[in-house]
């Protein structure tokens, strides 16, 4: 009859004094990883023109068949996008979307990227279909804060993370090389930290999960106390 179980008592008693690892959601949100796939946004160039050219490649590649695109010729006196056509109808059904972001990979103009917003819900199926007016970024280049979505300060800045982290050709030598055009309100954004390890968290606005988790590390290892 070994007395090894006394170690269990010591550990549980010690943990009463350790910080709690529970995040008091929804008062405080768990930090989102840099390249989280959330709700999509339709980007615009720095001069305000929309990037989407209505080519329907995203709809073609979507495995869940959730994107509906129809293009129209640009009216010559008031072009919406630089080029011949623009996305006239653009709808995404978020009940079908699996957030694989194949559409982001497929887009030739980096028109569709994703934000990190996933805290939205609906009460009817038709409410789940986001139209182009809701998806297009506003005049500051930020995603629109729709009334049923739970945005917190600073969350809207972090869009297009995954696009800027992976190399479009897949070749690791091109990771971190700027191959995208400027965005409205942000200009040409710096590359995200990819797998090669070159990170610039201040410029890209990333929240390192490591820094956030530091709060949950026990005090004797240098962490801070949190929660009641």
């Amino acid at each position: 009859m070994s007395l090894g179980f006394l170690g269990g008592f010591a550990l549980t008693l010690k943990q009463v004094g350790e910080p709690r690892v529970t995040t008091p959601y929804p008062g405080e949100k768990v930090a989102k990883p840099p390249r989280l796939h959330g709700r999509h946004v339709l980007n615009r160039y720095e001069d305000g023109m929309e990037k989407c050219i209505g080519c329907e490649l995203c709809a073609a590649v979507c495995p869940a068949d959730c994107i509906y695109v129809r293009g129209l010729d640009n009216p010559p006196d008031a072009p919406v996008s630089p080029g011949e056509r623009y996305g006239f109808v653009y709808e995404i059904n978020y009940l079908r979307c699996i957030h694989c972001d194949l559409c982001v990979e497929a887009c030739p103009t980096e028109a569709i990227t994703e934000s990190k917003m996933f805290e939205f819900s609906f009460t009817s199926r038709s409410d789940a279909i986001y139209t182009k007016e809701e998806l297009v970024v506003d005049d500051d280049g930020l995603p629109r804060h729709l009334p049923w979505e739970d945005w917190r300060p600073g969350e809207a800045d972090h869009t297009s993370g995954w696009m800027r982290a992976t190399s479009p050709s897949g070749a690791v030598e091109y990771e971190g090389e700027v191959q995208w055009s400027g965005e409205l309100g942000f200009g040409v954004r710096p590359p995200e930290g990819g797998q090669s390890g070159n990170r610039n968290d201040e410029a890209t606005g990333n929240i390192s999960i490591r820094t956030v988790e530091r709060d949950k590390i026990s005090r004797r290892l240098g962490g801070r106390v949190r929660g009641t």
Binding site: F5, T12, L13, R20, P24, T228
Partner: protein, 415 residues
């Protein structure tokens, strides 16, 4: 509860000074007030105990625990109770209807009644009557506790059997076997307390420990009976680590699987009420009950506070045990009860009884027990070692016969 308290002068001789002048309406009123206060306090205490357990367990598991309902989540138990009240009350098709409805009350009654014999405080004077601060003080005292804990076995057994399905039946069979086995160890340790106190009445037990700190029964009996009693009582209550019979991972819900709504709430209530009551009984039997230094003003309050404080310490220990220990498997549980607790309590009972006769006898039996015990332990160890050698040699001989394995060609590198 009222019936008991009023009838107990008739149940046997009693030294309760409240009844020394006959039972008038003042006495009846005092008893009524005592009953109501204890009933109310017990209900509130159960609510707080459930919250306390959830909060302490979550502290030990680096979580926050309930913190939404009321400040620090205190109203969580109330909210759960109200929710349970509004749930659908199911009666399984194969269930024995009368027994199914009866079992939760059979579980609740002992939990309520055992607390009546627990001395909560000292002796005060109300309206020219000497009142002991406990609901009832019959001469049979502690025997009442043993009797009622046997009745609670009925509750478990009947609950599972009357549910009319497999898992509750298995759970209740295991639970009742477990409770009966540990009752023996419980009774033996209580017998030790009674030997030293010369009386079964709980008031006498508490008074005999009041002389000084070292007169507490835990020291007077040697330290051993207290852990034996504590383990026996934990198993009796189906508390972790002995909660195999009601663990969700084992048997769905054990004997209370088929119960819903208020009936389940009654089982839940009964379990936590039993926990509080048994902590109180442990304090009474081994730690002097309300004994402790006090001040001269508000003299009646300090014993109550001492009693409450000690009980809270034990409740914390119960929750701590729940957080720290994994569940015992059924055979480990039964082995612990029959092969460890009962022999140890029997031997210690012999030692205590021998010490009552005379110190020489006591020391003689003690050392005799140590010698015989170590001889037996040596025998057990030798038996284990021999069995290992036997199995090793048997495995070796079996290995020589594994020629069928050689039929498979060995993977060779070059060829």
């Amino acid at each position: 509860m009222i019936l008991l308290s009023v009838l107990h002068p008739l149940l046997g001789t009693t030294d309760d000074p409240l009844y020394s002048g006959g039972v008038g309406w003042v006495v009846f009123l005092i008893v009524l007030i005592k009953v109501l206060v204890v009933f109310g306090a017990l209900m509130v205490a159960v609510m707080l105990m459930i919250w306390f357990e959830r909060k302490v367990i979550s502290d030990m598991q680096s979580r926050i625990g309930p913190n939404r309902a009321g400040p620090f989540g205190i109203a969580q138990t109330m909210a759960d109770g109200i929710k349970l009240f509004f749930k659908e009350d199911l009666l399984p098709d194969q269930a024995d209807r009368f027994v199914f409805k009866l079992a939760p009350y059979l579980a609740l009654l002992p939990a309520l009644l055992i607390f009546t014999i627990v001395p909560v405080g000292g002796v005060v004077t109300i309206a020219h009557h000497t009142v002991e601060l406990q609901v009832a003080d019959p001469a049979v005292g502690i025997l009442f506790l043993l009797a009622l804990s046997s009745v609670s076995v009925y509750a478990t057994m009947l609950a599972g059997w009357s549910s009319g399905s497999k898992y509750p039946l298995l759970g209740s069979i295991r639970a009742s076997a477990q409770m009966i086995s540990y009752e023996a160890a419980m009774g033996l340790t209580i017998a030790m307390v009674v030997i030293v106190t010369h009386s079964l009445s709980t008031r006498t037990i508490v008074d005999s420990q009041a002389a000084s700190f070292f007169h507490w029964n835990i020291f007077r009996l040697g330290i051993l009976p207290f852990p034996l009693f504590a383990v026996a009582v934990t198993a009796e209550l189906n508390r972790p680590p002995f909660d195999l019979t009601e663990g969700e991972q084992e048997l769905v819900g054990g004997f209370h699987t088929e119960y819903s709504s208020l009936r389940f709430a009654l089982f839940y209530l009964a379990e936590f009420m039993n926990t509080i009551t048994m902590s109180a009984v442990m304090v009474t039997l081994f730690f002097g009950g309300p004994d402790g230094p006090g001040f001269h003003f508000v003299r009646w309050l300090w014993p109550i506070l001492w009693f409450a404080g000690k009980t809270v310490v034990f409740m914390y220990v119960y929750v701590w045990i729940r957080a720290a220990l994994p569940r015992l498997r059924y055979d480990q549980l039964m082995e612990l009860g029959w092969k460890v607790l009962i022999p140890l309590s029997l031997v210690w009972l012999l030692v205590v009884a021998a010490f009552r006769v005379g110190t020489v006898w006591g020391l003689g039996v003690f050392f005799g027990g140590v010698i015989v015990g170590s001889a037996l332990w040596q025998a057990v160890l030798v038996g284990r070692a021999r069995r290992e050698v036997l199995e090793a040699s048997r495995a070796g001989r079996r290995g020589a016969n594994d020629s069928y394995l050689r039929a498979v060609p060995e993977p060779d590198g070059g060829e």
